[in-house]
């Protein structure tokens, strides 16, 4: 492969090292990796015997690219390290995720599925103003259908579940970021069983998996997604042909048939399809659920007191009824006497 830049490797290394030594006037205590210097020496001595400069002990800049390295055609966000960080950020910031198995969907089918999903989410009515009067954020644009790389996603999930960065602060020689050796050692020594969410969800992450991620637990949006991607009558019926003819497009239909909803993760707990249908069926969102809980608690108290007092109340009511009846009789008797007396008085007068 011809070199990328037409210059000699040795001179470019020398120039790069010179740049670092001249610019390193600020005292930053970085540990100079000894291996870099050693490798550099080996490289210099074995391949570029023409270089006579003394390079041992000095450091190359971190963004140094050897001129013989061809430019990369791979997108930087697909590098494993970057992907791991993306997945840990995703797991920490999305409380609701649906996992689908996707079986050999073609690119056309993917685009048809995403088109229908976007149309269905756009049709979800935006909620009214929040409790503090501000207009709520529209989350429909941030709901994504992402294909996951399960090997890296597994590692990311283990890190999120078992590695606690706050506990590492006090220890010596321990790092707190997700890519550190500390994180690796922690997840390697962690015992994974059914009690952790990772242990419950790891059987789902087999084979080709895609995920729909929601930034907020919103039952309305979840219901919309279930209606499109995993419909089931009667609660989550698919859109009708009249209202949404694009849904019944054969490409879109074959795409939907290849997607199987296998489970979900809601607020770090594993849910299966029935559980997700329950979450999607909550009306009024989380506030509605809280209101239902409050009314349930109130009614429960009321029902208990009613049951306890029922007997005595019944007795009181019966006696009251009898008393009013007796009073009426007495009044009726008096009235009759009064009427009789008035009638008699009227007759005599």
């Amino acid at each position: 492969m011809p070199p990328r830049l037409n210059c000699s490797a040795g001179s470019s290394i020398g120039r790069a090292v010179q740049r670092t030594t001249s610019s390193s006037t600020t005292t930053i205590t970085t540990r100079v990796p000894v291996l870099v210097a050693q490798n550099l020496n080996k490289l210099v001595s074995s391949q570029y015997a023409t270089v006579t400069r003394q390079i041992g002990g000095l450091r190359l800049p971190d963004d140094y690219v050897p001129p013989t390295q061809p430019p990369t055609a791979r997108r930087p966000e697909l590098r494993k390290a970057q992907m791991l960080r993306t997945y840990t950020a995703l797991l920490r910031s999305t409380p609701l995720m649906l996992f689908f198995q996707h079986n050999n969907l073609t690119a056309v089918e993917w685009s048809a599925v995403r088109r229908e999903l976007r149309a269905a989410l756009a049709a979800v009515p935006a909620p009214t103003a929040g409790p503090d009067g501000t207009a709520p954020v529209d989350i429909a644009s941030s709901i994504d259908l992402v294909v996951l790389r399960t090997r890296i996603f597994n590692v990311a999930y283990k890190i999120v579940d078992f590695f606690d960065p706050k506990a590492q602060v006090d220890k010596s020689n321990a790092y707190t970021h997700d890519l550190s050796k500390t994180a690796y050692e922690t997840i390697r020594s962690a015992d994974i069983d059914e009690s952790s969410t990772y242990g419950q969800i790891s059987p789902l992450l087999i084979g080709p998996v895609a995920a729909v991620t929601f930034p907020v637990v919103s039952p309305a949006h979840l219901a919309a997604v279930l209606k499109v991607l995993a419909p089931s009558a009667p609660a989550f019926a698919p859109p009708t042909r009249k209202k949404n003819p694009g849904y019944y497009d054969p490409v879109a239909q074959s795409g939907f048939q290849k997607l199987i909803l296998i489970g979900g993760r809601v607020e770090n707990k594993a849910f299966d399809y029935d559980g997700l249908k329950w979450v999607g069926g909550i009306e009024g969102g989380l506030d509605g659920l809280r209101a239902q809980l409050v009314s349930l608690l109130q009614n429960a108290g009321l029902g208990l007191t009613t049951a306890l007092e029922g007997h005595s109340k019944g007795l009181w009511l019966a006696l009251e009824g009898r008393r009013t009846q007796l009073e009426e009789e007495a009044n009726g008797g008096k009235k009759e006497e009064g009427e009789a007396a008035a009638a008699a008085a009227a007759e005599t007068s």
Partner: protein, 98 residues
Amino acid sequence: MITRFITEVKTKFNPFSMRSRATRLFLSYLPPNARNQGMQITTKLLPRTSTEPNSLVVKFKDGKTMDLNGEVLGIKGIIEEVDRHSRALQKQADLSDG
């Protein structure tokens, strides 16, 4: 995997159980145009707490029905069994065509 001679695939599995791994992977081996070429693929998901064993039923063009146990065979075993019968059918088809 030779899929030209398969007419129907019926699966039933519990996705939360590790034992249904082979059944799920078999579904991913079916080609993207399988449904267009007439293969019927039905999947039934068992609820998380069910203990019903997972099942995979494959029907071929000559009418043979194969009931495969993913737990015992594994994905390689399943593909081997299906391919064995498909190769026999392919030989017959080659002989009858040529």
